[in-house]
């Protein structure tokens, strides 16, 4: 079996776009990224299922010309899960927008507190200077 190169390339492009979007801070972009990347992965299942064929019904299509139904069943499951994911992420982004006026994933507060502790340590003799540049303060909504 030789895989379908067009599908594979499209899947790769979709996953690449998805990964780029997931690395954003805004939840709505992450949602887009998950959707696009998820579709890319679903295409991978179609690549894996081999050459396209007729509907896999006994009596309609001869056995050798049937397409493989199993990956399609899996893709269907994945699509249903993606639907639920989208619904949940949209809700969460909206709630975050209600509360904060933006939907960005924030830095952890406790982490910042631990960094403050490190700052307080500067007075001690054994102190060695380490700079933490990522405070999250410079993040702006576009």
């Amino acid at each position: 079996m030789s895989p379908n190169v067009t599908l594979a390339i499209i899947a790769g492009a979709l996953v690449a776009c998805g990964v780029y979007l997931i690395t954003e801070r805004s939840l709505s972009r992450i949602l887009m990224g998950v959707m696009v990347g998820g579709n890319g992965v679903n295409l991978l299942f179609l690549v894996a299922s081999g050459a396209a064929g007729g509907p896999p019904l006994i009596g309609v299509t001869p056995k050798d010309e049937m397409s493989d139904p199993l990956p399609q069943a899996m893709v269907l499951t994945a699509i249903v899960i993606a639907l639920a994911t989208a619904a949940f992420l949209v809700t969460m982004a909206y709630r975050s927008f209600q509360l904060n006026g933006h939907d960005e994933v924030a830095d952890d507060v406790e982490d910042a507190r631990i960094r403050e502790l490190a700052k307080a340590d500067e007075a001690s003799d054994s102190f060695e200077e380490i700079k933490f540049s990522d405070t999250g303060a410079d993040v702006v909504s576009e």
């Binding site: 997931i22 991978l44 894996a48 199993l70 899960i81 709630r95 924030a106 952890d108 982490d111």
Partner: protein, 509 residues
């Protein structure tokens, strides 16, 4: 006999539907969910007996062999199911004990019960899954339930902690799907037993790619360093019972999946070096993180990550003794970590905070709480004769028996981690339980001064449920002899072909 296999999944699912319908009748809803989980405990307990006396049980659902869904229970799955369902039941009873006011403010009860039962269904499905796709579905069920539980109430703190958790799990789900499609493309099946046979015939570089992809996915769920960063950021803000059940179960489902993949699908390629170093890094780095914390729930989250390293230690060495140690340690750690998080919930009620800067003298204001914290804390650190010591000793002996430099490094690392765990829990003990009381105890009829932060009395049900989980940890200690025999048989079963035979007997290739 194998027809009871779907019950641990089906019972909580029907229970969830029923509790959703009973949303306006809280008492009935509680009764239904407690009965459901008690039923799951019974089924899981009988599975322990069945698998131990009659061997591995498998059921092709709808008789669609070899294409359909297969549920398999071996000794490992039965033990995990039993411990998981007992802990879930304990946590549920604890949750019902939270008083009405708090329930309404933070955990809308009509949603809590169905979601909690779905989480239990997902966990059971992941333990019983005989094919990778069903494992994926089990993971998704439990993840979706956990998304709802971790953001319960939708406060700003929980939404921002939940975002990290949701995004990281979405990424791991995408990776899981990718691994599934690649392995289906390479072998034409997702059934674990068949995968095991067909991967053996494929070139090594194809299988290693798939194996690494699957390991990354499960390592994210199990919080193995360096994929563990998300856990301490997201767990501590959720309500106490939710954190307890997450800490007890969800990471262990990841560990179970790694154990299953390594033994059932790729038995010939244990990747000892990679997993061993990851285990060492997980243990040592996470426990150093725990020491730096001043907030009890975060400290416990870091010890949780750190002790995942012990299980990875056992899995990495892949000898019968080390796998047995890892299984025992997993069972022990589920109970002890859940109990500790429940205690943290009680500390929050009594002391008004879980920050060690604002606590003190709890041992004199609430001596019962002191005892409830002390036992699982010592158990976590591995003080003899508690079960944590038995599990660690088993792993150390297995490491010494292997005797390679890596094994010795792991032995040294785990002893160090054990000591540092003792240091971390002793720090909590010193700062929260000793010293002068910050807030005085309340008389039962006295109203708390500040509803948000003030001390509240501990309801008997919550204390009882916590004590029951602490008792379960002690039971693992008292039953350590028979239980260790059982996990040794479970580990031996992972390494022979009993799993393959049980799934594939009578099935056309």
């Amino acid at each position: 006999m194998n027809n009871i296999l779907p019950l641990p999944v089906l019972l909580p699912m029907f229970g969830a539907a029923l509790t959703l319908l009973l949303g306006r009748r809280p008492r009935l809803q509680r009764a239904v969910s407690i009965l459901t989980l008690a039923g799951v405990c019974l089924v899981a307990g009988s599975l322990i007996w069945i698998t131990d006396t009659h061997g591995v049980q498998s059921l092709w659902v709808g008789a669609w062999a070899p294409l359909g869904v297969v549920l398999v229970a071996d000794r490992l799955a039965a033990l995990m199911l039993t411990v998981a369902s007992l802990v879930t039941l304990g946590v549920l009873i604890y949750a019902t004990g939270q008083d009405e006011e708090e329930v309404h403010r933070e955990t809308p009860v009509s949603i809590f019960h169905p979601t909690f039962l779905l989480l239990s269904a997902g966990v059971s499905d992941a333990f019983l899954a005989g094919d990778l796709f069903n494992l994926f579905v089990g993971f998704e069920i439990l993840l979706f339930a956990s998304y709802v539980l971790i953001t319960m109430g939708g406060t700003g703190e929980r939404i921002s902690a939940g975002s990290t958790y949701v995004v990281i799990n979405l990424v791991s789900s995408l990776l899981f799907l990718t691994a599934l499609s690649i392995s289906y493309g390479a072998t034409g099946t997702v059934n674990m037993a068949q995968l095991s046979q067909r991967f053996a015939e494929l070139p090594g570089d194809v299988t290693i790619g798939i194996q690494l992809l699957l390991l990354v996915v499960f390592a994210i769920k199990a919080a193995v360093f360096p994929l563990s960063f998300w856990l301490p950021d997201s767990y501590p803000t959720a309500p106490a019972p939710v954190t307890a059940v997450f800490a007890g179960l969800l990471t262990k489902v990841g560990v179970y999946a790694i154990l299953r993949t390594q033994t059932a699908i790729f038995p010939n390629n244990p990747l000892t070096d990679l997993l061993g170093w990851a285990a060492l890094a997980t243990m040592v780095i996470a426990i150093l993180g725990a020491i730096a914390q001043s907030e009890i729930k975060r400290l416990l989250s870091f010890t949780l990550v750190s002790h995942i390293g012990y299980m990875m230690f056992g899995i990495a060495l892949a000898t019968p003794a080390s796998l047995g140690g890892a299984i025992f340690y997993t069972a022990h750690h589920i109970t002890v970590q859940a109990a500790l998080f429940l205690v943290a919930g009680l500390i929050e009620r009594v002391g008004g905070s879980t920050s060690m800067d604002r606590l003190g003298g709890l041992a004199s204001t609430a001596p019962v709480l002191g005892a409830l914290f002390f036992i699982p804390a010592m158990n976590l650190a591995g003080i003899p004769p508690l079960s944590g010591f038995v599990g660690k000793l088993g792993l150390l002996l297995a490491g010494v028996e292997v005797g390679t430099p890596l094994a010795w490094a792991l032995v040294a690392g785990s002893v160090l981690t054990s000591l540092l765990t003792l240091y971390a829990v002793a720090k909590v003990w010193n700062r929260a339980f000793w010293g002068t009381p910050v807030l005085g105890p309340l008389a039962p009829d006295e109203q708390p001064v500040d509803a948000e932060l003030g001390a509240k009395p501990m309801p008997g049900v919550m204390v009882g449920a916590t004590a029951a989980l602490v008792g379960l940890g002690l039971a693992l200690t008292f039953l350590a002899g028979p239980l260790y025999g059982y996990v040794d048989r479970a580990a031996a079963g992972l390494l022979d072909d009993s799993y393959l035979r049980a799934v594939l007997t009578g099935v056309a290739p």
